[in-house]
């Protein structure tokens, strides 16, 4: 097990190197002078020269790459061109809202989707099942911004029970304001994940309910409810956990629209602002950061399998 974890951590190194290479080349392979590209259409010659100096663009490309990787190893993701602040500092400032949004969203989605999917599987073919599946199709189909604005219209503007936008930290502003502000964005963002996870749960539970050991449990005189809770759910967990993990990874990278709709100062907004401003060091830093998060989450998913299925040992 420990050996497996170590091997997996070691195996992330080549992945990260390849990602770093892509990120590095992204800028260098763009047509024209990267410094001019970064500086934009209205930059002066001094601006371009300053940027070229800052990025070390005059050196051979191999030297540039190793210097860049070298500074990455020291946790230095570069300096934002416009704000002049270190990228790592910018990410650190913005990570809390994004992380909180992702966590509340996935928690809410799991709490709703797993029971819903299980119920649909248990009552497969009934009107409950059809309703859940209909909701699931709807959840996949409605764009986040449409749903976001609809919910804002209902809860913030008409009923006036929730704030329209903004973010409060649970650590500095208290839990109440945090929950009030995070509620709408979380619900909005969770709809598609509820759709996804409930569908997966349903399929997985239906499959498990066909298994021989479910029949054995019935032969023991066990009630249908206990069969579902004690025998079916844990066996159905592995595919569901996989989807939840993928959901978390997607969430952290995919909060751009939601953060914009609800004006939350998170990583999504940082990406958006950086792209609009062509602040390449920030974009590069965020891509590397997101890749790293993906890898870590995937490892955690794989390790969590052992909790559910004793046959899986690493």
């Amino acid at each position: 097990m420990l050996r497996y974890v170590l091997l997996r951590i070691l195996s992330t190194i080549p992945v990260m190197v390849i990602v770093a290479l892509f990120v590095f080349l992204m800028l260098r392979l763009a047509p024209g002078d990267p410094a001019a590209v970064i500086a934009g259409d209205y930059a002066t010659a001094e601006d371009v020269a300053r940027i070229r100096e800052q990025l070390g663009l005059s050196d051979p490309i191999v030297v540039q790459f190793f210097r860049w990787v070298g500074s990455l190893m020291q946790g230095d993701l570069g300096i934002s061109i416009f704000s002049g602040k270190p990228v790592s500092e910018l990410i650190a400032q913005r990570i809390e809202p994004t992380l909180m949004l992702a966590l509340t969203t996935i928690t809410f989605a799991v709490l709703v989707a797993v029971p819903l999917g299980t119920l649909a599987a248990f009552k497969a073919g009934s009107w409950i099942d059809r309703f859940v599946m209909l909701f699931s199709v709807g959840g996949f189909s409605i764009p986040v911004f449409v749903l976001g604005y609809i919910l804002i219209y209902i809860f913030s503007m008409t009923l006036k029970i929730l704030p329209v936008q903004g973010y409060r930290s649970p650590f500095t502003d208290g839990l109440g304001p945090f929950l009030l502000h995070i509620a709408l964005p979380s619900v909005t963002l969770s709809v598609i994940f509820i759709a996804l996870i409930s569908r997966m749960t349903r399929a997985s539970v239906i499959e498990v309910l066909e298994e021989d050991y479910i029949r054995t449990a019935r032969a023991k005189g066990q009630s249908e409810y206990n069969i579902l809770i004690h025998h079916a759910l844990r066996n159905a967990a592995v595919p569901v956990v996989t989807v939840i993990g993928i959901g978390i990874a997607l969430l952290i990278g995919g909060v751009v629209v939601t953060e914009s709709v609800f004006n939350i100062p998170g990583l999504g907004r940082l990406v958006l602002d950086a792209v609009l401003a062509r602040d390449y060091p920030i974009i590069q830093g965020l891509i590397l950061f997101f890749s790293f998060i993906y890898i870590v989450i995937n490892l955690l998913i794989d390790l969590s399998y052992t909790l559910f299925d004793p046959r899986i040992r690493y």
């Binding site: 298994e211 021989d212 050991y213 029949r215 054995t216 449990a217 019935r218 032969a219 023991k220 005189g221 066990q222 009630s223 206990n226 004690h230 025998h231 844990r234 066996n235 559910f308 299925d309 004793p310 046959r311």
Partner: protein, 533 residues
């Protein structure tokens, strides 16, 4: 008084099934301390009978339409769901064919037995544990204290079935229903489990309804036997009487189809040697950097020869290495040592590119005809694919496929149909035709008749013997079934734990086994001492 009485029971099948009733007008009883075997082929309704008693049959698909099922006088068909649940486990318990899938893979086996007590009794945790340990001791599981915390995949097949039996019997039910409980087990394990069921049954005096397809098992264990065909009981009576002097033609046919344990005399084959292995071995795992790794010798130092026109049987239990040998010879897996000589060439280490030319010389027929044909391709497409890979034109391959359909006893228009439109026996014929389409020199049959009903099995065995003669094939016949081996093999090789224990002409080995393991194996064959009419 009878524990179980089934009276004029009919259970309907859903519309569109091939017959109206799954079981029709069945009358059957199981007395206290009695073992009643229900025997029949697949689709005979024997399992539906068992599941109907337990109330585990899906009532929407399998609806009881007439008759009664009485457990200690109480009609189960009128019982409420809740009452049925309280009877299941408490008064009637069931064990199943496949102990691996019948146990929940993510729960500890001790807890799975304890669940019975949780459902039906109110005991403290320590009392429960003590009862579970006692039940595990009862079925002679080694070191129950330790095994309590094991998961099913950590146990052997026999141990798993013992767990199932312990679970079924922990509440001392009056009726035990056993649905093919030994079919998935090795012969020696099967013999032990049958003995265990018989012992416990005698000690506790419960009634046992034992479902099986195997007349050998019937001969071992049954007091009375009921023979089922197409949902009806065609014959019923004392086991000795039915086995010794069956009156119904179907029973006579079934019993007649059971292969005899006595091999017929066979002339030694004199054809050219088609296949030879020298010191063939397959090792899994690696010794590790400091020799600390785990290695498994799946097969070790296997020497065999098969001549054209000859059938060599490799018999053994699961894990004996018999299939490993077959797969090495096919080069489906790469052997770790030794030589495989075909046409005087060693293919054991041959590279894939050169090996390809030899592939058509060795063909294989697998155990499960349901899974070895691609369900999305017609039978014709599956059969012509191989020859066409070796440069034979479509029309020629097609013509040959039609011819082969006749050889294996199917109509040529079968080529246009899909595998699911055929029965198990027909599919196995198709698999044989597919193998023959390559015009092989060597045919490997890997448990090729094990999944088939006994009457179908006899036909497929005849077919295999027929094509061996017709095409002068060298046949390697892998089986766990000593009866089947006795009938088809010229010579046999007994394997155990990766090693060849004994080999020789079939008749000689059966009549006069030299090694203890061979003797034990032959003695374990169910009904080996019984004489069938």
């Amino acid at each position: 008084m009878s524990v179980l009485e089934i009276e004029n029971l009919s259970v309907s099948l859903p519309k569109g099934a091939d017959r109206k009733f799954a079981i029709e007008d069945i009358t059957l009883s199981v007395g206290r301390g009695e073992i009643v075997c229900v025997v029949g082929e697949s689709g005979s309704g024997k399992s539906v009978t068992a599941f109907s008693v337990m109330g585990l049959a899906d009532r929407r698909a399998l609806t009881p339409v007439a008759g009664e099922i009485r457990l200690e006088g109480e009609n189960l068909l009128e019982a409420s769901d809740a009452h049925l649940r309280s009877l299941r486990g408490e008064k009637m318990a069931m064990i199943f064919q496949e102990p691996m899938t019948a146990l929940n893979p993510v729960l500890r086996v001790g807890d799975q037995i304890a669940e019975m007590l949780e459902i039906h009794e109110t005991l403290s945790a320590s009392e429960r544990r003590a009862r579970v340990i006692a039940a595990m001791q009862d079925v002679r599981l080694p070191d129950p204290e330790k095994m309590y915390g094991s998961y099913p995949h950590q146990l052997s097949g026999g141990q798993r079935q013992r767990i199932m039996i312990a679970m079924a019997l922990v509440l001392e039910p009056v009726l035990l229903i056993a649905d093919e409980p030994t079919t998935a087990l090795d012969v020696t394990t099967q013999a032990q489990i049958l003995k265990l069921i018989k012992d416990i049954q005698t000690r506790k005096g419960m009634g046992v309804l034992f479902i099986t397809h195997d007349f050998g098992v019937v001969a071992e264990i049954a007091d009375r036997v009921a023979v089922m065909q197409n949902g009806r009981i065609v014959e019923q009576g004392e086991a000795g009487a039915v086995l010794g002097a069956p009156s119904h033609p179907y029973t006579q046919m079934l019993i007649g189809a059971v292969p005899s344990m006595t091999p017929p005399e066979r002339q030694p084959a004199t054809g050219k040697i088609a296949l030879e292995t020298r010191g063939l071995g397959k090792t899994y795992g690696s010794p590790g950097l400091f020799g600390t790794g785990r290695t498994v010798h799946a097969a070790q130092a296997v020497n065999l020869t098969v001549r054209r026109g000859e059938t060599l049987g490799i018999v053994g239990e699961s894990g004996s290495g018999k299939s490993t040998v077959a797969r090495c010879v096919m080069r489906l897996i790469d052997p770790t040592s030794g030589e495989i000589l075909i046409n005087d060439e060693n293919i054991a280490t041959m590279r894939e590119g050169r090996l390809r030319a030899h592939r058509r010389d060795i063909q294989i027929v697998f155990q499960d005809p349901y899974r070895s044909l691609n369900p999305r391709r017609t039978v014709g497409q599956s059969i012509v694919e191989g020859p066409m890979n070796f440069g034979i034109g479509r029309d020629e391959a097609r013509g040959r496929a039609e011819e082969l359909m006749r050889v294996v006893g199917l109509a040529p228009d079968a080529l246009e149909r899909f595998p699911h439109q055929f029965s198990g026996g027909q599919r196995q014929r198709i698999c044989i035709a597919r193998a023959l389409a390559m015009e092989p020199v060597i045919l490997i049959a890997d448990e090729a008749v094990s999944a088939l009903d006994v009457s179908v099995q006899a036909q497929v065995l005849d077919l295999l013997d027929d094509v061996r003669k017709r095409f002068d094939l060298a046949m390697l016949f892998i089986t766990h079934d000593l009866r089947v081996a006795a009938q088809i093999c010229d010579r046999i090789m007994v394997m155990n734990q990766g090693e060849v224990v004994e080999s020789g002409p079939t008749a000689a080995v059966y009549a006069n086994p030299q090694q203890d393991y061979t003797k034990a194996l032959l003695a374990a064959a169910p009904g080996h001492h019984a004489r069938f009419a």
